[in-house]
Amino acid sequence: MGPKKQFVSGDEAVAIGVKLAKPLVIAAYPITPQTIVVERLAEMVESGELKSEYMYVESEHSALAAVMGASVLGARTFTATSSQGLLYMAEVLHYSSGGRVPLVMMNANRSVALPWSIFGDQRDSLSLLDSGWIQVYVEDAQESLDMMLQAYAIAEHAEVLTPVMVNLDGFILTHTYECIEIPSEEQVEAFLPNFELANKMDLGAPKNLFFSSSPEHNIGFKYQQHQAMMQSKKIIDEVDKKYEAITTRGYGGLVDAYRCEDADTIIITLGSITGLVRDVVEELREQGEKVGVLKIRYMRPFPDEEIRNHTKTAKSIGVLEKDISFGYQGTVFTNVSSALKESKASLTNYVAGLGGKNISRDEIVTIYKELSEIKETQTVRFVGVEVSKDED
């Protein structure tokens, strides 16, 4: 049987992708807007279409610790979280990447309290950029499903052995229904190798794992961890090409550029806002504006070279992100600026959509217009915040 089509939400697409990867152990703790993923997986286990052990854990911290325990025995696992839950996991994020445990986790990008908000921005995962996880941000339901499968292939690759976090914008992507194509079991079998962990806990050859190390040795382990993450750039590309060869869907690896090749003005994006920005690019192109949009897919490993390659003609670059590192600038912007330190283009940071605030088509048009006129560089602009005259 070939691929079939289904009308699903982003969360459901994740659940279907996970099901196809056949994890043996699932542990998760509910948090909006991730819940539908774990509900669907529970239904699949109940119906027998997914043969997994489903663990009811009492917290996100325990969810991640539990899947680590199962993974080091050589069992493929899955967990999912969002926002406060991801932050609660923070210790275990570092722990699992340092232990080189190839976990796969879905994160529904959601704002971080206070003030409380269940709606989406990307401050949760971006604040954990240094936790040693590969971070990929997807744009639509199809990419959500496809990236779950690619995530396992990347994380478990012998040269990578680094956990992967697949990020979906809360509600905008997790709860929006789209028609997607579901790969057949045969396609998945051809794409995703069985999980084989060379250094697993083994009754025949016992291991002592997750040890302490002296200052003398510690930096050596950290060097290896960094090398593996850098090496993953090549693997990410290979995995995407292999996936494309089997399913006809490829995503371009670390970045996805749209009409950047001759663009004067480029907006750099992350996640689901890209679709709308692409529409604006088409409109402006019809009016003769030389504009483009560059979607960053992976924040770690960071695609510095790819960003340089796709922005060669640009005179003005804007980074549009749902994030702010208080006291400086958006984290995506900081990273992009460092990649473009030798670029002549002016760089502007647009902070938007915090706490789920809508980013409108008109705002994006305005940003392109501003960018085409801007000369100075390194400024942070909040989109959609009315500043009174007194404060200004």
Binding site: V57, E58, H61, S62, A65, M68, L73, L209, F211, S214
Partner: protein, 292 residues
């Protein structure tokens, strides 16, 4: 009582202090459980003394979990082993009193709630010994620690030791027991029993710390025995909803003698000791009532 133990050592070459009660509890339990065992240790004395690369001291599969995660990682290993079809394995955790009654309590509660077939052993040395003797919620009333100094204002620990045995029993756990390195045959029997239980088991083993308690390193076993004899520790089991007292001490020996042997209690007045005796008597009254 005859006790058979494996000759094989699964925990050796570690750097625990002389007379360490915790290391005795780990070594003996592994001799009972044997080579098909997966061990989880959180941050704490036992991981600190045995797990510094490249000097790794477990002869069985073992790992350090995050401090709060002993219960969760034990569960993950158990469930992973089940999913992979591994048969006849033991999954055992060794966590200290702080790792169990403070930071690890939530994950332990979750594991008992799931009923996963794991053995959780709390080696209780009554303070955060690894970090230099700070008070935990299992530090007994009156004890001096580095965070409960024995001055006029603080005068040692002012809270009464939590009862982890009661706490886990209240989960309706499959098997729970208290034990002590002062009664090794009893401890070994309980570890063996735990390995046969279908469901979660919890053993709370009193494990004196000569360094933190201020006793001679050759007195670990003796002081653990004395704690049982004077009634400040008890040996009991909880199984299928029933409580059993393993050693129903008819006449307690002197609490004062027990306390005054340890420098952590040196400052206690007769009035303090009277308070401790009253606490002891209440505890035993409640325990005997439950075991009726």
């Amino acid at each position: 009582m005859k006790t058979k133990l494996e000759q094989e050592e699964y925990f050796y070459g570690h750097k625990a202090c002389a007379g360490c009660g915790g290391s005795i509890a780990v070594r003996l339990a592994l001799k009972v459980l044997g080579k098909n065992t997966f061990v989880v240790l959180p941050a704490g004395c036992m991981s600190a003394v045995s797990f510094v690369y490249p000097q790794l001291c477990f002869g069985v599969n073992a790992l350090i979990s995050p401090f709060a995660s002993t219960g969760a990682m034990l569960s993950g290993i158990y469930v992973g082993a089940k999913a992979l079809g591994l048969k006849d394995v033991n999954v055992v955790g060794f966590a200290g009193d702080g790792g169990t009654a403070d930071i690890g309590l939530q994950a332990l509660s979750g594991a008992i709630d799931r009923g996963d077939k794991i053995i959780y052993i709390c080696y209780d040395n009554e303070a955060y010994m690894n970090t230099g003797v700070q008070k935990s919620s299992l530090t007994p009333y009156g004890a001096r620690t580095t965070t409960t100094p024995a001055g006029d204002r603080i005068h040692g620990s002012t809270s009464v030791k939590k009862d982890m045995f009661d706490i886990v029993a209240a989960h309706n756990i499959a098997y729970a027991a208290t034990a002590s390195v002062g009664n090794i045959p009893d401890y070994i029997r309980k570890v063996e029993k735990a390995s046969k239980v279908q469901g979660t088991s919890y053993i709370h083993v009193a494990a004196p710390c000569p360094t933190g308690w201020g006793v001679d390193s050759s007195d670990t076993i003796a002081i653990a025995k004395q704690a049982i004899d004077c009634g400040l520790w008890y040996l009991a089991e909880y199984e299928d909803g029933d409580y059993t007292i393993n050693k129903n001490v008819k006449e307690f020996t002197s609490v004062k003698d027990y306390l005054k042997k340890q420098s952590r209690f040196k400052h206690l007045t007769d009035e303090d000791i009277e308070t401790i005796q009253v606490q002891r008597d209440k505890k035993w009254q409640a325990l005997r009532k439950k075991a009726q």
